[in-house]
C-alpha cells in the first residue's frame, strides 16, 4: 500500500494524448471539453475436442472527445492516434457542436463532485500468459468436462482469456484520472445427447481481476459438464402459475432491469415503469441493494465514474424502499437532482444475501420452476411487462424433478419485485451486479 510507482510509458502517452485533445478543443474555441483515451491488449485461446481452434491476439486503442461551445456539444472518436487524425477528430466534434441545439443541462460534472484522491482498488494484475500455457489450460478444462459424464460427447470448446488495459479520463476543468485494470477468465461449453435425438448445451465460466483468484480450470470443465448433463431429456410443461426460483446468474438480469428503469434517461423521458418512485417500497421489507464501488479486485470497481465524479458506497434499496435513482450529471440537472456517480452505470451493485443456500431456497419453494437460462428480449421498460423464454427444472418436494424447456415465464417487473420472497446466499461475484438466487412468489409459465 502507498507505494509510489513511476508512471509507465503507456500511461504517460495516453495522458498526453488526452491533454492534447483538450488543448486542440480549446484552440478551436470550445468553452469546455472532455477526453477519454484507452489502450487494451489481450490473448484469447480456444481448444475444441482437444485441438486448438482459435488463437486471437487483441490490441485496441481509442480516443473519444466531447466538446462544448457554451450549451452546445459534439462528440467524435478515432482509433488513429497520429496528430492529423487527432486534429480531425476534434474538428469533427466541433463541427457537430455547431448544429446541435443549445441545452442548458449540458456540460462537465460539477467540480465539487469530482474525485479528489484516486484510491488503488487492486484491479491491475497483468498475466504474462504464454500461448502454449493458455492452450494447455484450455485443453485440461475441456478434458475435465468430457471425463465428467459419458453423455457429454461434443463441445463448443474451452477458452482461456487474458486482458489488461489503461483508461484515462481528462477534462478542461482540471480532472485527470487514470485506471489500469485487468480481467482474466476460463470458460467451457459442452453438449450432451439424451439418446432420443435431443441435444443440450450448457456452460460455466470464471472471471477475475487476478489470475491467482481463478479456480482450477478443471473445475470449470466439470461444472459445465454437470450443467449440460442435468438438462438432458428436457420437456415442456403445461401452462400454469407457480413460484419461480431464478438461479443467481439469471437473477442478475432482474437487477439490471431495475437499474435501467431508475437510470436518468429513462426517468426524464418518462419512459420507465418506475418514474416518481423514490421513497416508495418496491421490494418487501428487508430487501437491501447497495453499490460498493471501492471493493478491492471487484469486477465492477471504479474509483470515479465516467465523468470523474467520486464513487462511494451508497444504498439503492433500503428495507425494500427505493432511496435514489442512478444518475449522471446531465440527467441529474434535468431532474433537479444531484449526480449519484453513475455516469457509465453502476459499480458493484450488491444484493444483500439472505440466510438460505440454493438447496434451502428449493426446499422453501417446494413445488415450482427453477430457471437456469433465459432467452429473448421480452421486456417492456415503459410498462414493466415481462415475458421471456426459459429453461430449467420442475421442482417437487424441494428437489429437481426433471429438466424443462420451450416455455416462457411472464409477469410484470413491479409485481415480481414486490413478490421477491427470498434472496440466496449463493452470491455470484463474476459481474458488476452481484446477487444470490431469487425466489419469486408467482409467475405465469406458458407451455403445452
Amino acid at each position: 500500500m502507498g507505494a509510489i510507482i513511476a508512471k509507465d510509458q503507456e500511461t504517460s502517452s495516453l495522458e498526453d494524448l488526452a491533454t492534447q485533445a483538450l488543448d486542440l478543443a480549446r484552440r478551436q474555441g470550445a468553452s469546455a471539453a472532455e477526453a477519454n483515451a484507452g489502450f487494451g491488449r489481450g490473448l484469447s485461446v480456444t481448444v475444441r475436442k482437444g485441438e486448438v481452434e482459435t488463437v486471437e491476439h487483441h490490441r485496441d486503442k481509442s480516443l473519444a472527445v466531447t466538446v462544448y461551445f457554451g450549451d452546445r456539444s459534439g462528440s467524435a472518436s478515432t482509433s488513429d492516434f497520429r496528430s492529423q487524425a487527432l486534429s480531425e477528430a476534434v474538428m469533427a466534434a466541433c463541427v457537430i457542436a455547431r448544429h446541435t441545439a443549445a441545452d442548458p443541462y449540458n456540460g462537465l460534472a460539477d467540480p465539487a463532485h469530482l474525485a479528489r484522491a484516486i484510491p488503488d482498488l487492486d484491479l491491475y494484475h497483468p498475466w504474462e500468459l504464454a500461448m502454449e500455457e493458455a492452450i494447455e489450460r484450455a485443453r485440461r478444462c475441456e478434458e475435465a468436462a468430457f471425463a465428467t459424464d459419458a453423455r457429454i460427447g461434443n463441445s463448443e470448446g474451452a477458452s482461456v482469456t487474458t486482458h489488461d488495459g489503461i483508461d484515462v479520463y481528462a477534462t478542461s476543468h482540471g480532472f485527470l484520472g487514470t485506471v489500469r485494470a485487468s480481467r482474466h477468465g476460463f470458460s467451457c461449453a459442452v453438449l450432451g445427447e439424451d439418446g432420443q435425438g435431443g441435444m443440450q448445451r450448457d456452460y460455466d465460466y470464471a472471471s477475475a481481476r487476478d489470475a491467482r483468484d481463478l479456480p482450477d480450470v478443471e473445475e470449470i470443465g466439470r461444472r459445465a459438464a454437470l450443467r449440460t448433463a442435468r438438462r438432458l431429456g428436457a420437456r415442456q410443461i403445461k401452462t400454469c402459475q407457480v413460484p419461480v426460483l431464478y438461479e443467481a446468474q439469471v437473477a442478475r438480469s432482474l437487477v439490471s432491469h431495475l437499474v435501467s428503469a431508475i437510470s436518468g434517461p429513462s426517468l426524464y423521458r418518462r419512459s420507465s415503469f418506475l418514474v416518481d418512485s423514490v421513497d416508495t417500497a418496491l421490494f418487501p421489507a428487508g430487501t437491501h441493494l447497495y453499490e460498493e464501488p471501492h471493493r478491492k479486485k471487484g469486477m465492477g470497481s471504479a474509483p470515479f465514474d465516467s465523468e470523474g465524479v467520486e464513487t462511494r458506497t451508497r444504498d439503492l434499496i433500503e428495507d425494500g424502499v427505493l432511496r435514489r435513482y442512478c444518475l449522471d450529471s446531465y440527467s441529474a440537472r434535468k431532474l433537479g437532482l444531484v449526480t449519484t456517480g453513475n455516469a457509465g452505470g453502476v459499480h458493484n451493485l450488491m444484493v444483500a444475501p439472505g440466510s438460505e443456500d440454493l438447496a434451502g431456497l428449493l426446499r422453501q419453494m417446494g413445488t415450482g420452476l427453477f430457471v437456469t437460462e433465459l432467452i429473448g428480449f421480452g421486456i417492456n421498460h415503459v410498462t414493466g411487462d415481462y415475458s421471456r423464454g426459459a429453461a430449467g427444472f420442475w421442482v417437487e418436494g424441494g428437489e429437481l424433478a426433471y429438466p424443462v424447456e420451450e416455455i416462457t415465464i411472464a409477469s410484470n417487473l413491479r409485481d415480481m419485485y414486490k413478490g421477491l420472497v427470498a434472496v440466496g446466499r449463493d452470491v455470484d461475484y463474476r459481474h458488476n451486479v452481484c446477487t444470490g438466487s431469487w425466489l419469486i412468489e408467482r409467475m405465469t409459465v406458458a407451455g403445452a
Binding site: 472518436s77 477528430a89 448544429h99 453438449l191 400454469c240 429473448g376 423464454g389 406458458a446
Partner: protein, 487 residues
C-alpha cells in the same frame, strides 16, 4: 455502371485510401503473405478496413447530441486445418502487418516460408449499390432538420404523444481483402438508418411504439416518398394501439404472423441453425438433417445477399466471395447451409458468400444476409378468416435462439387476438417460443403477400454485430406457445 467497372473502381478506391498512404503495394502484400504460408498453413487472408460513421439523436424536440467515429485497421488470419490464428493492428503499416502475420501463423509449427510470388488477381463482385458517402449526402443542418420534422409529425398526429426520440445514423465502410489464393476484392459500403420511438400517455398509462428503416444508400432515401414521416406515423399508430392492449394469453394456440419484419422467425428458428460452423461441429439442432423434410411443402426459404440496396446485401462478402441467393429450404426439404470459406472447405462444399465480420478486429464467421420465405398463393384475408381463436402478431422486438436445443423466442410489439376469423382486441407482452426444426412443419397456410422488412435488423453472434434483413409472407402456424400472463 457494369459490375466489372464498379469492382475495378472499388479496388482502386480501396487501394488509394487503405494501402497507398502506408506505402503498401503488391510486393509488400506478398511479403506479409509469405511470412504466413508454410506447408502447414492451408489458407490466409488480410482484411483492410476504413470506416467513418456518424449518428445524430433527437429528444425533447431538439437534436442535442451527435457523434462521429473513424476506425481503421487490418486483420490477419492464418488457417491450418480447423485451427485459426488471428491478430490485428489499428495501424496500417508494414512492420505492424508483419508482426500480426507472425502472431497469426504461430498456430502451426515448422514449415518454410513460401518464396513463390502470389498470383495476385482481381476477384469478382456484384453491383448492388453505389459507393455513396452518406455522411456527405446531406448538409449537417439538413440532417438536424430531418429529425426535427420527424418529431413534429409525430406530435402533430396525436396530443397523447408525450415523448419522441429519433436518431439518424450513417456510415461508409471501405474494405480490401487479399487472400492466399491470390484473389483481391474490395467494396465500398454505404449504410443509413433512421429510427423513431414515441411514448404516448392516456389516463396515467404509458405505452411505446417504434419504427424505422434504411439500407445501403444515402440519406436521400429518407426524403424520398416521405419515408421519414411514414416512420413517425407508424410509431405513433403502434403506440396508440398498445394503449388499448390487454395482457396477452398464455398457452399453445394458432398464430398468424404478418408479412415483413415477422420474418425474424426464419432468422431465429431456421437461419442460425443452418450456419455452417454449428453444422460442421454438430452443435446445431439441424445437424444431419440435410435432404430431410423439415417444413411444410409450401415453405421455400432463401438467404439472399444479392438484393439491390438492402441492409443485409453485400457486393462481396468479407472474404472476397460474391454474395448469392442460397436456397436453404426448398418446398419443405432442407437444401443448403450458410457458409464462409473455412467451413465450406472443411465440409467439402462451396462457399455461399456468407463470410462476414463486424470489423478488422473480429474473425469472419458464417452469417446471414437477407433471409426470407417465398410467397405462397393464399390471400392474407383468407388466412385470418380461417382462424377461430388465435393470435395475430404483426410487429416484433428482438428474438434469440439456443442453437443446440433448437428453441427460439421472439417478442411481439404489436399483436391482436383473432376471434372467429376477425382481428380482435390488441394484446401486449406476448413472447412466442418454438422449436426450430419443427416449427415450419406446423405452417398451415402461406400468404401471397411477401414483404421484406424496412431495413432495421442487426444480428448478434459471438459478440459480433452485422446488419441483416428478413422477410416473409403472412403465415399461419398451428400450435406455437404464446407466453402472456392470462391463463
Amino acid at each position: 455502371m457494369t459490375t466489372e467497372t464498379l469492382h475495378t473502381r472499388n479496388l482502386e478506391r480501396a487501394r488509394e485510401s487503405l494501402l497507398v498512404p502506408a506505402g503498401i503495394g503488391l510486393n509488400e502484400l506478398d511479403q506479409v503473405m509469405g511470412r504466413m504460408l508454410g506447408h502447414q498453413i492451408d489458407y490466409a487472408d488480410l482484411y483492410f478496413q476504413y470506416s467513418r460513421q456518424e449518428s445524430w439523436s433527437l429528444e425533447e424536440g431538439q437534436v442535442k447530441s451527435g457523434s462521429r467515429h473513424i476506425e481503421q485497421g487490418v486483420g490477419v488470419r492464418a488457417i491450418a486445418g480447423e485451427k485459426t490464428g488471428f491478430a490485428y493492428s489499428d495501424e496500417i503499416v508494414l512492420p505492424a502487418l508483419l508482426d500480426a502475420a507472425s502472431a497469426a501463423r504461430a498456430i502451426a509449427h515448422g514449415g518454410r516460408q513460401q518464396t513463390a510470388a502470389l498470383a495476385a488477381h482481381n476477384g469478382s463482385a456484384l453491383s448492388l449499390y453505389e459507393p455513396a458517402d452518406p455522411l456527405l449526402s446531406l448538409e449537417d443542418a439538413a440532417k438536424v432538420a430531418l429529425l426535427e420534422r420527424v418529431e413534429q409529425e409525430a406530435r402533430r398526429l396525436d396530443p397523447r404523444v408525450k415523448q419522441v426520440m429519433a436518431s439518424l445514423g450513417g456510415s461508409q465502410e471501405t474494405i480490401f481483402v487479399m487472400r492466399s489464393d491470390g484473389v483481391m476484392a474490395a467494396d465500398v459500403r454505404p449504410l443509413v438508418r433512421l429510427n423513431v420511438t414515441v411514448i404516448v400517455e392516456q389516463n396515467g398509462r404509458r405505452e411505446t411504439g417504434s419504427s424505422g428503416g434504411g439500407g445501403r444508400t444515402d440519406y436521400g432515401y429518407f426524403l424520398a416518398e416521405d419515408r421519414a414521416l411514414f416512420y413517425a406515423r407508424e410509431a405513433v399508430r403502434q403506440a396508440l394501439v398498445n394503449l388499448e392492449a390487454a395482457p396477452a394469453p398464455a398457452g399453445t394456440m394458432q398464430v398468424v404472423l404478418g408479412p415483413g419484419w415477422p420474418g425474424i422467425l426464419l432468422h431465429e428458428a431456421i437461419g442460425h441453425g443452418l450456419e455452417g460452423d454449428f453444422n460442421r461441429k454438430g452443435t446445431s439442432a439441424f445437424a444431419g438433417l440435410m435432404g430431410e423434410k423439415i417444413a411444410a411443402d409450401a415453405c421455400t426459404v432463401v438467404d439472399d445477399g444479392t438484393l439491390a440496396g438492402r441492409r443485409g446485401s453485400l457486393n462481396v462478402d468479407d472474404e472476397g466471395t460474391p454474395t448469392q441467393n442460397t436456397v436453404l429450404i426448398e418446398r419443405g426439404v432442407l437444401r443448403g447451409y450458410i457458409l464462409d470459406r473455412m467451413n465450406a472447405r472443411l465440409m467439402g462444399m462451396a462457399p455461399t458468400g456468407n463470410g462476414r465480420r463486424e470489423s478488422y478486429a473480429h474473425l469472419p464467421m458464417p452469417r446471414m444476409t437477407n433471409t426470407y420465405m417465398l410467397a405462397g398463393d393464399t390471400p392474407p384475408e383468407e388466412i385470418l378468416a380461417s382462424v377461430k381463436k388465435g393470435l395475430y402478431a404483426v410487429n416484433f422486438g428482438g428474438g434469440q435462439v439456443d442453437i443446440t436445443s433448437g428453441k427460439f423466442v421472439f417478442s411481439a410489439s404489436e399483436a391482436y387476438l383473432i376471434e372467429n376469423g376477425r382481428i380482435g382486441r390488441p394484446v401486449r407482452g406476448a413472447t412466442i417460443i418454438g422449436n426450430g426444426p419443427d416449427v415450419l412443419k406446423r405452417v398451415a397456410m402461406v400468404g401471397n403477400d411477401l414483404a421484406l422488412d424496412t431495413g432495421v435488423g442487426t444480428c448478434g453472434k459471438d459478440g459480433q454485430s452485422v446488419p441483416v434483413g428478413v422477410g416473409q409472407p403472412t403465415l399461419r402456424i398451428d400450435g406455437m406457445t404464446v407466453g402472456g400472463t392470462e391463463e
